[in-house]
Subunit: 332 residues, 2 copies
């Protein structure tokens, strides 16, 4: 498994052939995305989900794109010890994903690695990414259902609201729910997700904020895909069983409404487009339009002394005139 | 100016021709990047820099990629009033940049928009982006010199350290320096930027943390490109004049060491590569290899019933065999 994923990560023709071969066996495993800011306790939560999923007899693969994740190597001692208990479990496969190098981008590699895990009989794949940036949001498009993990703490709540993270979650987990401010964060989330405009952070304006730690903050009927909010403390395990129930209900709802199918089709279309981009990039490099050494291209451009778009277009046109084979370099 | 940038944003052949035409007049204006998490006061700082630069007789263009920036429209009333004083000033041009749509990506569009401003005689261009994600870091590569704006506040300091922002700044501005924790944040930054390993947040371990608000925390000689740390309060203007001096010293040092030239060459090389990718993408769409409607490609792929890499490669090979002109669709 690890060697197959390494092959895919390297972006070569062997990895591509492997994908083509395994493609009919991709799916139908569930793919769960877990994201959130650094320090939100994503890895501890993933660890807790792993335990719950194993208890249900699922075979679970974890793809960690989070550079601060203990799965990726950036672990504190406590995290490593916690992870170690899965090491001997053949129903668990854990892999950190490299964040650079593949031309198709990390989302494509992650999608294809998840496919390989599915083909190998893993019934659930968890993708963990750090952060709230555009690239992390993008990786979450590889998942069927997305958990956004947040922690109580000054500033974090407002940052999450501003950073676009409010659009991607199916379930918002207020982790470390024993910390002060957990109820307030849940209230802010509930308010913001209702779409009533700018979430005021003054609790007194929201009489319902007291419900936050009642365990069932979903009083609103909302649209079919209204995100859920759950309190949990991944470290001591509280709220995890309830979170699993919410996860399963959410998946069932996404499936019933056709949204799951729409997401998977969108993912396949994006995957094809990324493959096309990577293939073209390989073709460009094969023909020296984009040299492996970018300085070389720049020197030629400087000698050329024309505008950059014209310079590139003429090189491309020439390459297309001369090129009859896409790759392999045989025609070079 | 606004229409020229709109033309470039649209990614069409007219915008490309405009770039080719103006290219000889690009540069040598300074390009200042300003980034940091939401709520750090980037826009207020940019406003302060604007005033300082105008006082020096510079003509200043601002390209705001930050969706929360008042320059981009997401302003609170106070911000809008502050911005309004530049509206009548012909030596100031402010433009928000769309975050989607152009195939070459936002970094290319921003780089080219900055070029157009330079060609029009603007002597300084400020690029403002929000956040600490990968795409924002990438946009900062369009700048000669990068200011990272941070504010005191629980969690922020640690997040900045983890999110890769510590690698891109030439100057770190501890904004809102009148807030509690400003000195501590400066101390953490100073410690982290020294590269002495994991920055402990326990002040008592760092006898030098008391220097943080002395106004000159740069006691270390460090390497030529050692990032600078400055305290400022953009809202009341304190520290801005000193920040301008630091900015000018940093630019002079980057120039003297050859680093500025290296950055500009790297930027040009990256720009060429992005142009090549965008050109190929246009070519692919022209030929229906990547249709404008991704669903169409997906339906054809599903009928094809082969692996995705093979499917794409064969379409590409066919397109290259048939294609003699890159764009314009004349050969379709």
């Amino acid at each position: 498994m690890a060697r197959a994923i390494t092959l895919i990560e390297s972006g070569g023709s062997e990895g591509e052939a492997l994908i083509d071969l395994l493609y009919p066996h991709f799916g139908p495993a569930r793919i769960i995305g877990v994201t959130g800011p650094p320090g939100a306790g994503k890895s501890t939560l993933v660890d807790g989900l792993l335990t719950e999923l194993r208890r249900r007899g699922e075979r679970v693969g974890v793809l960690a794109v989070d550079p601060s994740s203990p799965f990726s190597g950036g672990a504190l001692l406590g995290d490593r010890l916690r992870m170690a208990r899965h090491a001997a479990d053949s129903g668990v496969f854990i892999r950190s994903m490299a964040t650079r190098g593949h031309w198709g981008g990390l989302t494509l590699v992650t999608t294809e690695a998840a496919g390989v895990l599915q083909a190998a009989g893993f019934t659930t794949v968890i993708i963990e990414t750090v952060g709230v940036g555009q690239s992390e949001v993008e990786i979450m498009s590889a998942a069927d259902v997305v958990l956004v993990v947040l922690v109580p703490g000054a500033g974090d709540d407002i940052q999450a609201l501003k950073a676009g993270i409010m659009e991607i979650g199916d379930i918002y987990v207020v982790n470390k729910s024993d910390l002060p401010g957990a109820a307030e964060l849940a209230a802010v989330l509930r308010f913001a997700l209702r779409g009533e405009g700018n979430p005021a952070l003054d609790e007194s304006e929201h009489p319902d904020s007291g419900h936050a730690d009642s365990g069932d903050p979903n009083t609103l009927p909302g649209p079919v895909h209204a995100p859920q909010i759950r309190l949990a403390s991944a470290l001591n395990g509280s709220g995890l069983a309830e979170l699993m129930v919410t996860l399963e209900q959410t998946e069932a709802r996404l499936q019933a409404s056709g949204e799951l199918d729409r997401r998977r089709r969108r993912r396949s279309a994006t995957e094809l487009e990324r493959i096309a981009q990577a293939a073209v990039r390989g073709w460009l490099v094969d023909r020296g339009i984009v040299p492996v050494d970018p300085d070389q291209l720049l020197r030629e451009f400087e000698r050329d002394n024309r505008g950059p778009h014209r310079f590139i277009r003429e090189r491309l046109e020439e390459a297309i005139r001369n090129g009859n084979r896409l790759s392999g370099g045989a025609s070079k």
